[in-house]
Amino acid sequence: MLYLLPSLAPVLAVVAAAVGFGWNERLPRSARRAIEVLIGVAVGVALAVALALVAAGPGTSPLLGRDGFGLSVRVDVISATVLLLVTFVGWVVTRFAITYLDGEPGQGRFLGWLCLTLASVLTLVVAGNLILLVTTWSITSLGLTQLLLFYAERPAARRAARKKFVIARISDMSLVAAAVLLALHFGTGDIATIDAAARVGGGGGLVTLAAALLVIAAMLKSAQFPAHGWLTEVMEAPTPVSALLHAGVINAGGFLLIRFADVVVQSPGALAALVMIGGFTAVFGGLVMLTQPAVKTSLAWSTIAQMGFMMMQCGLALFPLALLHLVAHSLYKAHAFLSSGGAVERIATFRRPGSAAVPSLAAVGRAFLVALALYGLIGGGAAALLRPSAQALALGAILVFGIAYLLAQGLADAAPQALTRRLAVLAAAAAGGYFVLHIAADWMFGNSVPPPPRPGPLEWVLIVLAVISFGVVAVAQATFALWAYHPAAAGLRVHLSNGLYVNAVIDRLTGGWRRRAQPHMAVV
């Protein structure tokens, strides 16, 4: 019965949603209080689940249903972690929204849908059975659509919602198909049983197909190229919606793959697709983000890129790292969206000490060497301790690239010594933090997911390709000021700033710029 404890969290969120819908319009003080407390208690529930997990170990609740199909709750380190994340971010977002929508006529309706979406995600992350998982996968998306259409009179909001709706339904269908195949093959809907069976029993035609469908469902959910467009238009809904995405909505794709890691690794083709599409989305999103002058739009592109990176980690079968990325990114990005109103002050502050020193090619080279040494020093120690896979070592390259960028700013010839020193300290701290977190993630999640397989020729090609393309972009970024303003780059910038026109094409196909009704026009 202890394993039923997590179900309290979604129940609380449903009650909170009922309070919101009950008033529908502006909330009285008591209702505002009640909603916040209910979601706050859900955080407490998630903490209690974590403690219960430590005390009693992982397990699945009794099934409400028959023949292995129905409703059940799964408690393990994956569900407990994501449950904590979602309740916590959910609480912050709810609290924010209550104040933020003060006086808004649809305050109750907004919080109703917000809490209902949250309840759906909370159920999704603790689902022990396919039935529950598939259902909440859809409900989450429907709730989000309602939030996107909070200002349904805005054409741009409808444009985004329409795109998202189509993508989400394909994702739903893929997941349903995957679930049916899994149920047929394993004869049960119990997720833990399926994972265990897949781990020992290996794959077959059906499982491989199911893995591919899971990957498709996940990539569509997590806004991977070319299904990313709607995400950059979520700004048509109030800011808390953008933050809520990071409470297990946009990153549900990653969660799904981690949940079914044992199944997914049965299909090398699906993994390869994840590496390629995820890696491309990461680089593409990251580059487009650089060109965006609007803060929330820029953050949305950054989310696309980060989701791509998470997908790539899944494709490399580095599931513990993917989960770490999911959690860390959610915390960071939820904060970034909610605090995006400070952009005016941030930019004004950064202008005050004069322009940044531009590193020369030599400085960038030095920075990369130092970063590599730092990686060797700290990473070498960690490697001796942990014997990481080739995939994990390769991924460490992104740390080298990142740290190099930080160092390059300090090593620019015009940078004062004190700046160089302090950035070096920061770089070392970042490298240390990176390895500590990776070790912690491996230690926490490593036993719940399959280890990365030994890379074969295909995997090696992908790994090398990923490292090289990331490296090229990193060098380009570090030497940015030296080439980006060359006239030859102008066209590239225009195309990138428009996201390579994916949205324009999809809008054209879905009639996004159609006028719904003839507006009033002057009769002349």
């Binding site: 916590f88 805005r154 890129a305 300090g410 970042a430 990176y434 972009v473 094409v505 006028r515 026009m521």
Partner: protein
């Protein structure tokens, strides 16, 4: 048509667009700035035609106020009597009947994009707005994108982008990139070519240009700001006419594609643009109703000013404290004076006469802390030679944070950032969710003039400021100069809450400069010659009044003078007590606020979209001795400027007041008016959807048109309006002839009064609103009703 005369029309059209200051330091702007030479009825006709907006409230707003008795029959009759006899309704009864008739919203004349949308079903106006915004956001960007868009003159920069951008083509505008590539290289030529192609007759030009610039919203207004700054410095800036050329090219391309379907409609529209503007009967009614609402407000104000009040007996002042004329000071001044008879407060424009270009600690960015109508006169910097180390440290701190921020945002390194530091945001989320971050930045060291001025100049500055403040004698032992600023977090419009007279910055720098000037023994010695004797025992201390929290920070450490610390301590206690009173009063007005403690909390809450009401409700400007208003509750709705005409030699101070603070107050009042009445055009929209672009402005949602003016949440608490849209009532205690003389010398100011953008009253010697300015330098005697009736009205 000659290109040059076309330029003249384009420049005139540009002048109809109000400038919008970037959000880093923004000030209120009169949205009717370029239209003030016309009255409200004509502006109603004009904006209805070019923008499809009404410039008065919906009829039911007036009807409900008439029904509730807030607008009396006498108000209606008086407004009617003052209206143009040619167009006004025949009687009060007819006026009341008209108020019950809802008017359909006006519809703008269509642009080519509108016609193209009608025949194609593709939302071309929205696409044009989206594409223009997409480019302009990058072009104006002050540092959001790491890969910044190319700069340079607007038209050329736009062409470089538009020739590459495939979006219009994908969405259905064939060959747009090619059209742009083939367009003339210079904006003037493009303008002429497009005008010829579109077949715009000369008489239609200015109206059509105005309409096109209006479709560009805040982008055109920001371009107008650039021209404003350039002209102030005797230069010129072509951005806004470049924008016009760009917008014309869009209409031209759309006409090419859809010509066969829309040509006749388009020609007919141009004929309407060319027709002279005549206000409709309905617009004339609207204007009379608006005037009546304002008369109702004036009746209440007159009652407040005429009512006898119980006074705390005057004692010798122990503390004099000068505040900005800002309406928010009124609440605090009243609270402070209620504490002790030895406190005197003064009102003066919050830049205190010092037009400084200031660099704060660790900054190379000069900040114009002065009214936007003026050019800077002095240059200052935080700290002197002794603060070099602090300056370097401040720079270093920002540079490290900036490098870390870039690490966070750059391609590739952002992935490393998340996995190295993402979990730290757990703490940040908790901190911000619970508003645990302490407010209030560390104060910069005292500002110093750089270069220092010679003594004569300093004495001259000090003397003119003291005279303008009517503070030339009876100095108290402690004189506090209080600038003001607001403390809010996560608020793109934070600077709009600061001091407008200080250019959208907080006012402590100017206050500290003035206090330093007046504490300087040499300056004091120099002042004696001009008849201003400051006692040696008198000490000036600068302060900052935080309008969000009503806390006052003193900068007592700026000067090491033989001070009476007991007086300073007493002042601190008074200020703290006044803060409590002011917060309690404001808490009643802030929505869903029940404790004064939560007033302070609002300033730290990152989700709070109404940290304070700012100047919402402002309705009067009073230039008179404080004794005329002491003890009267003006509800935080009045600008109070100290002025004593009997000490004003040749009415030089009167002239300054009527041409500077009054004009600034009109900008504020009319900004509130515009943002309340015409939020679509002159408001910045819904704060819940604000997306900061380029660190300089906001768009609603994904992009499109830059939104300027006040957010809807700043004028509405969600259910009712927080600002009653009334044009400002200016009351000046001065001889009418002197005021007429000023108006005659300043036609622009006179236009504001003659066209009723402001109402003017002369106060008599008892502070009553005795004379109403009726336009054309004529005055009407106001009947001051007996006091019985007034107390009824007030109740």
């Amino acid at each position: 048509m000659m290109v040059t005369s076309l330029q003249v029309v384009a420049d005139a059209a540009a002048r109809t667009i109000p400038p919008a200051w970037p959000l880093a330091a923004t000030v209120a702007v009169n949205p009717f700035l370029g239209l003030a030479h016309e009255d409200l009825a004509h502006v109603a006709a004009r904006l209805s035609r070019v923008a499809g907006v009404a410039v008065t409230m919906p009829r039911d707003w007036y009807a409900s106020r008439i029904a509730a008795g807030a607008i009396s029959d006498a108000d209606l009759a008086a407004a009617l009597a003052a209206a143009d006899p040619g167009t006004r309704p025949p009687s009060v009864a007819a006026l009341k009947a008209a108020a019950l008739q809802p008017e359909p919203p006006p519809v703008a004349l269509a642009t080519v994009a509108d016609f193209a949308a009608a025949v194609s079903g593709i939302d071309w106006p929205a696409i044009v707005a989206d594409r223009f915004g997409n480019w302009a956001a990058g072009w104006f960007d002050e540092g959001q994108a790491l890969w910044a868009a190319p700069r340079g003159p607007a038209y050329a920069a736009w062409r470089a982008v538009a020739t590459h951008d495939l979006t219009p083509e994908i969405l259905g505008l064939r060959g747009f990139a090619g059209t742009v590539a083939a367009a003339p290289e210079h904006a003037n030529d493009a303008l002429a070519q497009a005008v010829a192609y579109l077949g715009v007759p000369p008489a239609a030009l200015s109206s059509y240009f105005h309409a096109l610039l209006t479709t560009l919203g805040g982008w055109a207004q920001t371009a107008r700001y650039r021209r404003w700054c350039a002209e102030l410095a005797d230069g010129d800036d072509a951005t806004i006419t470049d924008f016009l050329a760009i917008r014309l090219l869009w209409d031209m391309a759309l006409l090419t594609q859809y010509r066969e379907h829309i040509a006749p409609d388009w020609a007919a529209t141009l004929d309407v643009h060319a027709a002279p503007l005549v206000p409709t009967e309905a617009q004339a009614v609207d204007v009379v109703l608006q005037e009546a609402a304002e008369r109702a407000g004036q009746r209440e104000l007159a009652a407040t000013l005429a009512k006898p009040v119980a006074r705390i007996p005057d004692e010798l002042p122990l503390l004099q404290i000068a505040f900005c004329i800002d309406v928010r000071s009124e609440v605090f001044r009243r609270a402070l004076e209620s504490l002790d008879g030895r406190i005197r407060t003064l009102g003066f424009a919050g830049f205190f006469g010092l037009t400084t270009l200031h660099c704060r600690l660790g900054s190379d960015v000069p900040e114009p802390r002065l009214p936007v109508l003026l050019n800077p006169g002095v240059v200052s910097r935080a700290g002197g030679a002794g603060d070099r180390t602090a300056d370097i440290r401040a720079r270093l701190d920002v540079r490290v944070t900036r490098a870390w921020e870039r690490f966070k945002l750059a391609a590739i390194s952002s992935f490393a950032f998340v996995e190295a530091a993402g979990p730290l945001y757990l703490g940040k989320l908790i901190r911000d969710a619970l508003a645990l971050k302490a407010g209030g930045a560390r104060a910069d060291p005292g500002p110093q003039l750089e270069p220092d001025l010679d003594l004569a100049t300093k004495v001259g500055m000090a003397a003119s400021t003291l005279r303008a403040m009517s503070l030339t004698g009876d100095f108290a032992p402690l004189v506090i100069i209080a600038g003001h600023g607001a403390s809010t977090v996560n608020n793109p419009h934070a600077s709009a809450l600061h001091c407008g007279a200080c250019g959208g910055y907080s006012g402590e720098v100017n206050a500290r400069l003035l206090a330093a000037l007046l504490n300087d023994p040499e300056v004091r010695a120099g002042l004696v010659a001009g008849g201003i004797v400051i006692p040696t025992a008198t000490r000036f201390v600068a302060a900052l009044h935080d309008t969000t929290t009503d806390a006052v920070r003193l900068y007592a450490g700026d000067h090491t003078s033989p001070a009476d610390d007991a007086v300073l301590d007493q002042a601190r206690r008074w200020l703290a007590a006044a803060g409590v009173l002011a917060r309690s009063e404001r808490a009643l007005r802030l929505p869903r606020d029940d404790a004064t403690a939560s007033v302070t909390r609002r300033s730290r809450d990152w989700a709070q979209i109404r940290p304070e009401w700012a100047l919402a409700g402002c309705s009067a400007f009073i230039a008179a001795p404080r004794s005329y208003t002491t003890g009267r509750d003006l509800g935080g709705r009045a600008f109070l400027h100290d002025y004593d005409w009997q000490r004003d030699r040749e009415f030089a101070v009167l002239e300054v007041i009527m041409t500077a603070p009054v004009v600034v107050a009109s900008w504020i009042s009319l900004q509130y008016y515009g943002s309340t009445v015409i939020p679509r055009l002159f408001g910045s929209g819904n704060k819940l959807l604000h997306n900061v672009v380029g660190g300089m402005g906001v768009v609603e949602g994904n992009g499109g048109i830059l939104r300027t003016g006040l957010p809807w949440q700043s004028v509405c608490d969600g259910e009712g309006l927080a600002h009653e849209p009334l044009r400002l009532t200016v009351c000046i205690a001065a001889p009418r002839a002197a005021m007429n003389a000023v108006l005659e010398r300043h036609p622009d100011v006179r236009a504001l009064f003659d066209n009723c953008w402001l109402h003017l009253f002369a106060l008599d010697n008892e502070g009553r609103m005795a004379w109403r300015y009726a336009g054309h330098l004529l005055w009407e005697h106001e009947v001051i009703n007996d006091l019985e009736e007034f107390s009824l009205v007030v109740a």
